[in-house]
């Protein structure tokens, strides 16, 4: 970077800059200032604020009578929270696994010089442009037992076809998985397809010359080189899973009962409609903990990777 600059420009600037501290030297900082303030206050400040609230007995309004870890204790003794948390485990695990599998598979299939690839890709990806509320509304209609898929299959002649997951407390969580996979798997496909297109073509040619089959080439050479894409997809998907709120609101509204609640919905309900601000804050902090547990190792490996370059 400084090879050329050293010859042409750096002489005058380096000796000249400290002398004249012009407005131009301050401009970058002035321009960044609002963002710095907003980030410090509205991200870090609010995080601390919520953390503080989670240690208070706040109910309808924030109050600052500290109660130690009481809210966290209440939280983990709350059946609804435990259901929400285990739902997140089931939902997140399946959602991520299925999206990754579908995404990789479809990307590889589409990478076989497919005719009309553009059109197919467009179809696979369009759900990502839609709001989760619309997705939820559509799937609520498809999955409802009285008029939806169940009735269609019965009318087609499958008399005993039963598909009532939406109103079955044990199965409703899988409805969320179906709708979420429908929405996000195309995105994972796009990520991997972009990755596949970036793989060095010579490497693949060399493998073919050595007699490797297409399958082996993918398994041994191409897919391993996509590890970074894999991790990015993993982070983005787990992030979507932990933040999932709108899909539940639109598809099941947490029901039947609270069988399909996720932590984000728990937090909203307790903070805004049940006037349990302290408890809601504690649940938000646990969600933050989940995100950090995924994010910190990822960022760490990213940054370390950069240094080595």
């Amino acid at each position: 970077m400084n090879t050329k600059a050293a010859n042409t420009g750096s002489g005058p600037t380096q000796s000249g800059r400290p002398a004249r501290l012009s407005l131009a030297d301050w401009m970058p900082k002035i321009v960044m200032a609002p963002t710095v303030i907003v980030t410090l206050v509205c991200i870090y400040g609010y995080m601390i604020w919520t953390a503080v609230l989670s240690f208070t007995g706040s109910r309808m309004l924030p109050s600052y009578n500290f109660v130690g870890f009481d809210q966290y204790e209440r939280l983990f003794n709350n059946d609804r929270w435990m259901v929400a948390l285990s739902n997140l485990g089931i939902f997140g695990g399946l959602f991520i696994a299925i999206c990754l599998f579908l995404g990789v598979t479809l990307a590889i299939f589409l990478d076989q010089k497919i005719r009309a690839e553009g059109a197919i890709r467009t179809i696979y990806l369009y759900p990502m442009a839609i709001s989760f509320i619309v997705t939820g509304t559509a799937w609520k209609w498809l999955l409802n037992p009285t008029n939806g898929l169940e009735k269609m299959m019965i009318d087609f002649g499958f008399e005993n076809f039963k598909f009532d997951w939406l109103i079955n407390p044990d199965m409703v969580i899988y409805c969320l998985v179906i709708a979420a996979v429908w929405q996000a798997s195309g995105f994972v496909m796009a990520l991997f397809l972009a990755g596949l297109r970036g793989v060095d073509g010579d490497l693949i040619k060399a493998a073919h010359l050595d007699g490797a089959s297409t399958f082996t080439t993918y398994r041994r050479i191409i897919l391993p080189s996509l590890k970074p894409v894999f991790f990015s997809a993993l982070v983005v998907l787990s992030h979507i899973a932990i933040k999932s709120f709108d899909l539940v609101a639109a598809l099941t509204n947490g029901g039947p009962g609270y069988a399909s609640d996720l932590p984000a919905n728990f937090m909203y309900t307790y903070t805004f409609t049940r006037s349990q601000i302290g408890l809601g804050s504690a649940s938000a902090m646990v969600m933050l903990g989940c995100v950090l547990a995924i994010l910190v190792p990822y960022l760490y490996s990213e940054l370390r990777g950069k240094r080595h370059e």
């Binding site: 600059a5 839609i130 972009a194």
Partner: protein, 294 residues
């Protein structure tokens, strides 16, 4: 057609594989398309047809009654004016929020990549965390702040919130784009006496069109599709369309009108779908921008 010797050896298996491949791809495409087709079909039927037919049965005639009802007279919780007022609210929120967050992101990216100062890189890293925090952590403090600022339950309040939590993304986009601009360019311009804004306006902006398009599309989609901030920070008549749609679908006065629900859902999805259809390339680029790096 090509090489006969090679062709004979592989063609049988290859052909079968190709057919299987296309079959799978088409079946999967049907899976992705089906919900939208069902929505469209349902929105064109009347209540009787819905009750007697199946999801995929065709409507007897093209009947747009439920569309006009969804637009102008369906009941969404409190009022019965359809979703059109909320559709307009969404535009009132989205347009300023997209414009402001894109402009701020461009300036931030410009500073972070070409006017580095002590701590700017550290700050950028700290800011990136803003892309990832679950917003539940900031909901309540933000609700209080909006109250103090006197913009609780207003569209201005929502614009403010979307700008605040959008600039981390927009800054990231512009920063990554401007990283490839050589620093010597700025240095040379400075020696010629050009100032901070002159360089931005004359040199940087003219080459920024692609990233501006990507950022605008990304922000438009994100903010239009937002539900969490909309439901937490809006008042009865300032709700964005996603919140109104959810209220409409979950309103249980009288019989359930699925055709109206579906029409409303399609209307709510149209702006972002249109963006996707007309500018899909840039939409995908935005989606993959953060995730796939060289």
């Amino acid at each position: 057609m090509s090489n006969k010797a090679v062709g004979r050896k592989t063609s049988g298996l290859d052909k079968a594989l190709r057919v299987a491949l296309y079959t799978v791809l088409i079946v999967v495409a049907a899976f992705y398309l089906m919900p939208f087709i069902v929505m469209l079909l349902t929105s064109l039927k009347d209540v009787e047809e819905i009750r007697t037919g199946t999801l995929l049965s065709l409507p007897a005639s093209l009947n747009f009654d439920s569309w006009s009802k969804a637009w102008s007279s369906a009941c969404t919780g409190g009022s019965c004016g359809g979703i059109s007022p909320y559709f307009m609210n969404s535009f009132q929120i989205v347009l300023p929020a997209v414009a402001i967050s894109t402009l701020v992101g461009a300036l931030n990216g410009y500073v972070i990549s070409l006017w580095k100062f002590r701590g700017s890189d550290f700050f950028f890293a700290a800011m990136l965390v803003g892309c990832f925090i679950p917003f539940q952590v900031i909901l309540l403090p933000m609700a209080q702040t909006l109250g103090w600022l006197g913009i609780a339950n207003t569209t201005s309040g929502l614009v403010f919130v979307h700008v605040v939590y959008g600039i981390a993304f927009t800054t990231l986009f512009f920063r990554n784009f401007y990283q490839s601009i050589p620093g010597e360019l700025v240095k040379a311009a400075r020696l010629d006496g050009a100032g901070f804004f002159t360089i931005f306006y004359r040199i940087i902006l003219p080459v920024s069109t692609p990233i501006i398009v990507v950022t605008v599309i990304w922000q438009f989609t994100q903010i239009w599709n937002d539900f969490l901030f909309g439901v937490a920070f809006s008042g009865f008549d300032t709700q964005p369309v996603t919140v109104a749609l959810n209220n409409l679908v979950n309103t249980s006065f009288g019989g359930k009108e699925y055709n109206v629900d579906m029409a409303a859902a399609i209307i709510a999805a149209l702006p972002t779908l249109a963006v996707y259809v007309f500018a899909g390339k840039y939409f995908v680029r935005g989606l993959t921008a953060g995730a796939v790096k060289g």
